[in-house]
């Protein structure tokens, strides 16, 4: 037997267990959900091929339209989250005593489960919760506000919680970016009498570009896929005010058991995510963001 053939056999023996798991639980599910969207999949009755009917149904489904609009609105968290994270990274990049304690405190929301986070904020936003009590004590409002039960504010609360939980994560990434800025460059800038703002715009921001690109892309993907907060706090309500596409697709699959329709909705979600990602990707390429991320 040739040496290379023997090596190949050995290599596959090493990889077999992991590859088996990935084929069964990652590849097959992804590929398998492609044909699903063209079927009327029924758990009990007969499954039949219905062509584009799931998509036709989606585009005349008012709830589906609402979920798309809500999801696209939700992407507004991305720029807010990224700008705040960069500012925060600048703040925690300073050499101050005890700075690592502050970094840890800001990071705690990132590692806690979305369930715990949602429960905590659910109670803070409650009509008899801390925020309402504080506002009433200060005399700013006379009657408690139903932050999560009003269609006008529920979405804003969900966005707020998402930003609050994401801050620490993106802050750490940008911090890594800031710390990779060569010291000599900063010193040279100080010698040249560049002020802080100029120094940030001319020196740090360009070097942060690959990080901004990476973080924005991640952030867009998770914003279109937002699910956990909605599931725990509002279940898409009140009156569909927080119905986002990922949650709608979930309810279609696992409360109504309409797997085919759910897969079609999921496909639309994938298309939206890809279009937005390509947009970010092209922008990143134009701005030289890809230079050392690949």
């Amino acid at each position: 037997m040739k040496v290379k053939t023997r090596q190949t056999i050995k290599a596959y023996m090493f990889m077999a267990p992991a590859l088996f798991m990935i084929v069964v639980f990652v590849l097959v599910p992804i590929i398998g959900s492609l044909p699903l969207m063209f079927y009327d999949y029924s758990v009990l009755g007969k499954t039949k091929f219905i062509g584009m009917d799931n998509f036709k149904r989606a585009f005349s489904d008012p709830e589906f339209r609402i979920s798309i609009i809500n999801s696209i609105l939700f992407v507004a968290v991305v720029p807010v989250l990224q700008i705040l994270s960069i500012l925060l990274a600048l703040l925690v990049n300073r050499k101050l005593k005890g700075i690592s304690i502050f970094r840890t405190l800001i990071y705690i929301p990132v590692i806690t489960s979305m369930v715990a986070v949602s429960i905590i904020w659910g109670f803070l936003f409650d009509p008899s919760g801390l925020i309402n009590t504080a506002l009433q004590d200060m005399g700013l409002i006379s009657n408690p506000l139903g932050f999560l039960s009003s269609g006008k504010t529920a979405m804003i609360c969900i966005m707020f919680i998402t930003i609050w939980q994401g801050l620490g994560y993106y802050m750490m990434l940008y911090l890594a970016g800031l710390q990779s800025v060569p010291k000599e460059l900063e010193e040279a800038a100080i010698v040249d009498g560049v002020n802080k703002l100029q120094g940030f715009i001319k020196i740090k921001l360009p070097l942060l570009k690959p990080y901004i690109w990476f973080c924005t892309l991640n952030s867009v993907i998770s914003a279109v896929g937002v699910f956990d907060v909605v599931y725990v706090l509002t279940k898409g309500g009140p009156y569909n005010a927080t119905l986002v596409i990922n949650y709608y697709s979930y309810t279609k699959a696992f409360t109504d058991f309409e797997f085919g329709y759910s897969a079609a909705i999921g496909a639309v979600q994938a298309v939206i995510t890809s279009v937005l990602s390509i947009f970010v990707f092209l922008y990143g390429k134009k701005g030289g963001g890809m230079t050392y991320s690949d």
């Binding site: 290379k4 090596q7 190949t8 050995k10 290599a11 090493f14 990889m15 267990p17 992991a18 590859l19 798991m21 990935i22 069964v24 639980f25 990652v26 590849l27 097959v28 599910p29 959900s33 699903l36 703040l91 300073r94 101050l96 502050f102 705690i108 929301p109 806690t112 489960s113 979305m114 369930v115 715990a116 429960i119 905590i120 904020w121 659910g122 109670f123 803070l124 008899s128 801390l130 009590t133 504080a134 004590d137 609050w164 801050l167 620490g168 994560y169 911090l175 890594a176 970016g177 990080y211 990476f214 896929g225 699910f227 990922n246 699959a253 696992f254 759910s262 999921g266 050392y292 991320s293």
Partner: protein
């Protein structure tokens, strides 16, 4: 000169004020939850941080209402077995990808990386059908298996194998050592730091996972902690003290693990952009 020092002091004070404010916004809700979990029914919504009469009633109550030790046990079984499967299978799989030449290597790497781009939710329906077809619905094994081996772990460990000095491997091969022995005695010790990163990542993601268990498990007794908590939140809304205590119980282990492994974890997170 004095003026300059003064200005520097002022900017330091401002920075500290900003840091304290943001830390309060980020960690404050957790501290408030902690303090609430020691309050009694009547003053549960009171604004004071330190209650005059701290009580353990909420903790006793939540243990009586929910079988908390059971949920902790379920969570541990799910978390630890996923970690074990992921570490062993990924460490085995990453080895040839880093250190051996074989047919199909490029294709396998390509497939692995492309699956990382697709969100896990996309495969949820088919995963459910697979688990249901092999009769693993309503079992912890059905919760554990899908998503236990993470492509991310394989890529991370491959990266780590590449860092082990080539001379060591070559020398062992010349000495006639078998591939499995090289792996066990040279490579595995070399990748230990990255293995610990995989362990922390898996621990956090599995401990916090709640949706997949809801889908697979019909019997709430088999729920892990996070899932049980969302269930408790839905059905005992008025028992706020209990929910507060339950939330604290679910958060403490994860915060402890994070504090212990912080440095390693943050390095891995930051390294992800470049890698």
């Amino acid at each position: 000169m004095i003026k300059k020092i003064k200005r520097k002091n002022r900017s330091t004070i401002l920075a500290y004020l900003g840091l304290i404010l943001i830390s309060l916004i980020c960690a404050g809700p957790f501290l408030w939850m902690l303090s609430t979990s020691f309050k009694t029914g009547q003053n549960i919504y009171s604004l004071e941080f330190f209650t005059a009469h701290p009580t353990l009633n909420n903790y006793l109550g939540v243990f009586k209402f929910l079988s908390v030790p059971r949920y902790i046990w379920n969570t541990l079984v799910i978390t630890l077995s996923s970690i074990a499967i992921d570490v062993v299978f990924s460490a085995l799989c990453a080895y040839p990808l880093a250190c051996m030449e074989f047919k199909g290597k490029k294709i396998i790497m390509g497939i692995l990386i492309s699956t990382m781009i697709i969100p896990a939710a996309a495969g949820m329906i088919i995963n459910y059908l697979i688990i249901s077809n092999v009769h693993l619905l309503n079992s912890l094994v059905g919760v554990i298996l899908p998503g236990s081996v993470k492509v991310f772990s394989i890529i991370l460990l491959r990266q780590s194998y590449l860092g082990v000095p080539k001379e060591l491997i070559e020398a062992a091969r010349i000495d006639g050592a078998k591939e499995t022995r090289i792996w066990r005695q040279i490579m595995v010790p070399g990748i230990m730091p990255s293995v610990s990163t995989v362990v922390i990542f898996d621990f956090i993601s599995r401990w916090n996972e709640f949706l997949w268990p809801v889908i697979v498990l019909q019997d709430p007794k088999k729920y892990p902690l996070a899932t049980a908590l969302s269930y408790l939140n839905g059905s005992f809304n008025y028992k706020f003290g209990y929910i507060a205590a339950g939330t604290v119980i679910s958060i403490v282990p994860i915060v402890l693990v994070f504090l212990l492994c912080q440095k390693n974890y943050i390095e891995a997170i930051s390294g992800a952009v470049k890698g």
